[in-house]
């Protein structure tokens, strides 16, 4: 642990609590034990100043690292930066060129293959006021396909000596594995299925995911989320307090009240 380069000044992460993407970065900070601080703000303000001065694209997360003067956005780019600069003992990455790029490959797959499609499924399933079955089906099918690709890759991976755990690259957990957790964590909600249904036929992906959510770093991340959601008067699923169900929330949105 001692060889880790811990930044002197806290790295600031800008986030809005409900969505999964910012928690990807917090998870990494927690797992590396880095010096960081959270700047939590309301989702209604992501496309406004001052945040758009930090990220012209108006999406969370973004980071400001006072130790280097760098401002950076897109969680994938933040992952690569943090790992390159601060994971000096290479606990969550690999030294060899090939393995390093395999980690990057899975990170890109997460960024382009998992995130956008899980996000669209969530939108059409919960937030869009009118039900469009073909759109829900399209994105639900894509989620299952992506989970299938992951399950296949894990099935082909050599189980680690000792606990027999399977990881995407090089026999140990890396940032590439971690990047998938925040969206997978929301699968029951996104797919409107029970946990068993979500993972049916995907034993390797399930074991992989469940191993990671047991980590103290993930649990701490979710404690921070719970606290910050509460601060903004939001329940766990993003629905404002006082509204019981998603259906009720959806009806309110449909009536234009939210």
């Amino acid at each position: 642990m001692a060889t880790k380069l811990n930044p002197l000044k806290p790295i600031r992460v800008w986030l809005t609590p409900p969505g999964p993407n910012p928690w990807k970065v917090v998870f990494l900070f927690e797992e590396l034990g880095l010096n960081y601080e959270i700047k939590s703000f309301s989702f209604a303000d992501v496309k406004k100043k001052p945040f758009t001065d930090v990220n012209p694209n108006g999406r969370v997360p973004a980071i400001e690292d006072p130790n280097t003067g760098l401002t950076l956005w897109e969680s994938g780019a933040i992952y690569q930066y943090i790992v390159e600069l601060y994971d000096t003992d290479k606990r969550l990455t690999h030294e060899a060129l090939n393995d390093r790029h395999l980690c990057n490959q899975w990170l890109h797959f997460q960024m382009s293959g998992q995130g956008p499609y899980f996000g669209q499924a969530g939108w059409f399933q919960h937030l869009h006021p009118e039900k469009i079955p073909s759109a829900i089906e399209r994105y639900t099918a894509e989620i299952k396909r992506v989970l299938g690709v992951l399950d296949g890759a894990l099935a082909a991976a050599k189980p680690a000596a000792g606990d027999g755990a399977r990881w995407l690259v090089g026999g140990k957990m890396t940032f590439a594995d971690m990047a998938f957790v925040p969206w997978d964590f929301r699968l029951a909600e996104v797919l409107l299925q029970s946990w068993d249904e979500v993972w049916e036929g995907l034993p390797h992906a399930r074991a992989w995911h469940e191993r990671m959510v047991e980590l103290p770093s993930w649990k701490r991340s979710m404690e921070h989320r719970a606290r910050l959601m509460d601060e903004q008067g939001l329940q766990w699923n993003g629905v404002p307090k006082g509204i019981e169900t998603f259906t009720e929330y959806e009806e309110k949105i449909a009536r234009g009240e939210q």
Binding site: L8, G58, T68, G76, H108, F109, S112, R138, A153
Partner: protein, 287 residues
């Protein structure tokens, strides 16, 4: 040291990053990597699509020799077992190569392929910045912005505007509006750039990653008016001979011609592709 950083100019802090970076890379730069590698055993599996041409444009710009296998997406070659061995995700592009020690490299995801290629072969930083500089990381912001935003959102615009079995106006609007928003973000970034490229003073993998998508904007039904810097950039990228050559791999790039076509003509042209997309969706739904 704290005080130093607080008062440092942007340049000083960039040097600081460079310092941090070189500290970190010193163990990584094995002597054999100091010189640009010119021998290569690169094999690209690709098709004439925005994601496919990213890699051929980059390879041409780097002047690297490579073999090409054209994948017929409409015949689902990308779902055949031999291809799934290279890319279990069943999509193009994919790339194979050999390391100096003889071990094989197999990569998918265009973004990671591009990062690999500049990391290993662009040691003179023609199209990239040295690891540890601010620009190096800013390029990655834009690269992931393309991978996680522009590509998927414009892909969905294509789907609802061109390929979906039923016309869902909401789906068309949602993704065309988001894509147009992303184009505006890019246009604003380019308007602030003195070089006309996304990051710093040169063409990088961030520009190349976005080019095929923006060039296909009309196909996705995105209005291209009022985006002066973006339109100028579209032409500027093609002044690089490698980009011009690489966009025609494995066959002619014709997307720019769509800029003058009517909606009716575009719709007619979509019919062929519509058939395979819908077939693919049916097969996925059965699984």
């Amino acid at each position: 040291m704290n005080g130093d950083l607080e008062n440092s100019t942007p340049l000083q802090s960039m040097q600081r990053i460079a310092l941090l970076g070189s500290h970190l890379t010193s163990t990584r730069n094995k002597p054999s990597h100091k010189m640009a590698e010119t021998k290569s055993d690169i094999h690209l599996y690709t098709a004439q699509t925005p994601n496919g041409i990213k890699v051929s444009m980059l390879l041409e710009e780097l002047g690297l020799p490579y073999k090409v296998t054209a994948i017929e997406i409409s015949k689902n070659t990308q779902k055949e077992p031999w291809f799934l061995d290279i890319n279990p995700n069943g999509r193009i592009p994919a790339l194979t190569d050999t390391l100096p020690d003889g071990s094989p490299v197999r990569l998918f995801e265009s973004g990671s392929i591009m990062q690999y290629l500049v990391d290993r072969y662009d040691t003179e930083h023609k199209l990239s910045y040295p690891r540890g500089t601010a620009e190096y990381y800013e390029v990655n912001s834009w690269l992931f912005w393309q991978m996680g935003g522009l590509g998927p959102m414009q892909g969905q615009a294509n789907h609802f505007a061109r390929y979906a079995p039923e016309k869902i106006q909401y789906g068309i609007d949602r993704y065309q509006n988001e894509t147009r928003r992303l184009y505006r973000v890019m246009d604003t970034q380019l308007s602030k750039s003195t070089s006309g490229y996304l990051v710093g003073d040169r063409l990088t993998i961030a520009d190349i990653a976005c080019w095929g998508w923006v060039a296909a904007g009309s196909w996705a039904g995105i209005r291209m008016d009022g985006l002066d810097h973006l339109n100028a950039w579209l032409d500027k990228v093609l002044t690089h001979p490698g980009c011009e050559k690489g966009r025609h791999v494995p066959s002619r790039h014709t997307m720019l011609d769509n800029r003058n076509k009517t909606e009716e003509e575009l719709d007619k042209a979509a019919q062929k592709t519509r058939a395979w997309v819908q077939q693919g969706m049916k097969e996925d739904a059965k699984k």
